[in-house]
Symmetry: C2
Subunit: 357 residues, 2 copies
């Protein structure tokens, strides 16, 4: 590829090609644990202003790759941009997480939903992608992302975060056709949105199915996995996105790896509650795997942290196809020095295990 970045470990690993060492990036790497992020966030005034101002979103996208030897950048944004563009009115209350002014509470509201045009209604995201891709100047690849259809629907129906998102679950039981309509609109919106991010310069894509794991197995297959497959297939069949690796991350869905691996994605993200070696044996050569250190490990000593990083890399083994990451987003309350330790431990042990092989 003409525009392959200088450091292509991440993209090669997603394609299960050999690399000199294990690539690493960190979910939420542009975030509150970084003092420079907090400074930009303060300048922006609010989280949404930060996310909706392409220059500022680009700035925080670059911060972690400037400070640490990470192998990928991910555009700074929120998983709920799509429902916001659909008119639900995303807002944030400090310490309470995302909320919607107009949650979906009637069949009419659900039937009235339309797929937003990303290049107009989500322009701030595609502009941030264009800017970040330009500013990265080939240093590392840039990841675009979206929330999954199910996860978007959780917030759209509940109107805010929840332990169990029981409103959407009850809807899915009582009005399955209406629920499928909602999820299909979301899936088509995600496809258009991810495609626009690729057109703007994203070199890999990730779908965060944060709440898929709250579903019972048959409900997961029917209401979450099915729409992840719809997305993967659509991206595969579009020449623009066919060669862009897609990572699916269903948190808490370790029981569903086989089904997800057959979706047509390039890689699966794993949370930390599954052994990555077992996961690799289960999915075989079908997909690459991304993960899966317990984020709480960053609160331990550097010595213990190095041991745990080593254990994850050893569990995967010296095969191609591992992107190191945490099993969930990095938390704000960690020692910055430990992030450098983590990145160094991945790269040095990743080299070591390949030399032994």
């Amino acid at each position: 590829m003409a525009d392959r970045p200088n450091n292509d470990r991440f993209l090669r690993a997603l394609q299960r090609q050999p690399t000199d060492t294990t690539p690493v990036w960190i979910m939420r790497q542009a975030g509150r644990y970084l003092p420079e992020y907090r400074a930009t966030r303060k300048r922006a005034g609010s989280f949404l202003t930060l996310a909706k101002t392409p220059e500022l979103a680009c700035e925080v996208t670059l911060q972690p790759v400037e400070r640490f030897d990470l192998d990928a950048a991910i555009v700074f944004s929120d998983i709920l941009t799509i429902p916001d563009a659909m008119g639900l009115g995303l807002y944030f209350v400090e310490g309470e997480g995302p909320k919607f002014r107009n949650p979906l509470r009637t069949a009419e509201a659900i039937k009235a939903l339309a797929v937003p045009d990303p290049e107009s209604e989500l322009r701030y995201v595609t502009d941030a992608v264009r800017l970040a891709r330009h500013e990265l100047d080939g240093k590392v690849p840039l990841i675009g992302f979206s929330g999954s259809p199910w996860t978007l629907a959780c917030y759209m129906v509940e109107g805010q975060g929840s332990r169990d998102f029981a409103r959407l679950k009850a809807l899915s039981l009582d009005q399955p056709a209406l629920t499928h309509h909602l999820l299909d609109v979301n899936a088509r919106a995600v496809i258009a949105y991810l495609t626009a991010q690729v057109a703007a310069g994203a070199q890999a894509l990730m779908v965060f199915d944060t709440w898929g794991g709250l579903l019972a197995p048959s409900a997961f297959r029917e209401f979450s996995q099915r729409y992840l497959q719809q997305i993967a297939k659509a991206l595969q069949h579009n020449p623009l996105t066919a060669n862009i690796p897609l990572i699916l991350f269903s948190k808490g869905a370790g029981a569903h790896l086989e089904g997800l691996a057959d979706s047509g994605c390039a890689a699966l993200g794993l949370d930390w509650t599954i052994d990555i070696g077992d996961a690799r044996r289960r999915v075989g050569e079908r997909v690459a795997l991304q993960g899966n250190l317990d984020p709480a490990t960053l609160q331990a000593s550097p010595t213990a942290l190095r041991q745990e990083v080593t254990a994850v890399i050893d569990a995967f083994g010296p095969h191609p196809g591992h992107v190191f990451n945490l099993g969930h987003g990095i938390t704000p309350n960690i020692d910055l020095e430990n992030v450098a330790v983590l990145v160094d431990a991945v790269h040095s042990h990743g080299r070591h295990i390949r030399q032994l092989d």
Copy 2:
């Protein structure tokens, strides 16, 4: 057994003996969704007064079995009574969950912990068990319970609830010997506590490992499962408790069923993220299974609720050894009528599936 209760479906199912239908009880069945509970709770003045006054605890223990055709009662108490008896000072802030005045923040504090004598320091629990057993008068069996060593330690070290209990995880990585000391004290305390509940009249026991599922697999085996095994073995080797069925419930630990089934317990509790038919195939004839309807299903219509109950019973099949339950505690915001629907659906479909067999 001379003192076998009139309705022994629950105990027979735990021993994988045939029953006329599937027995059912509901985690948190004595709780806020019941108006009579809220009335008693109001009279008590505080949750802790309610839990620590045997007459009141007995009263709310009986309320659900008086209103619904449930097949077991569970003594009303809290999972954190043991650390409270160790001197950590349990208290509750409305809407914030349990907290400790004296969380464990030093090695000295951990080394100073001692196993409480249940008959003096947790007398309010054994008195509640004695009273409830007497008042039930053989109507249904009475379950005693405790939090698991790991779950107790989560709160003891963190001092309150947490998304990730990272303090204890970091301690387990940085000071494994000290962590094992803490967990061993907790395990011995749980054994003494459960044994005292049996001496007071409990006819089955359950250990709630609410936060075991937050652990990575090897950490789960080392820091949670190991101590569940210690408890199961100790109870098996004591003539007083050897014939009392023990249910282990590790929420989010569907990947660990085989290891837990080998612990010496009678049954495993399952959350709703695993198919109970798959679980049965995995554990075979080793243990009974309890579960596992998604609690959110109680927020759907009676028609959908009946279908979902039926699906869980069908997934287990017509074999002996199924105790129906939710996959987690019942939530306050449900229609009481749906609880009656659930119980009726279990009993009627449980009969039906046995007739087909």
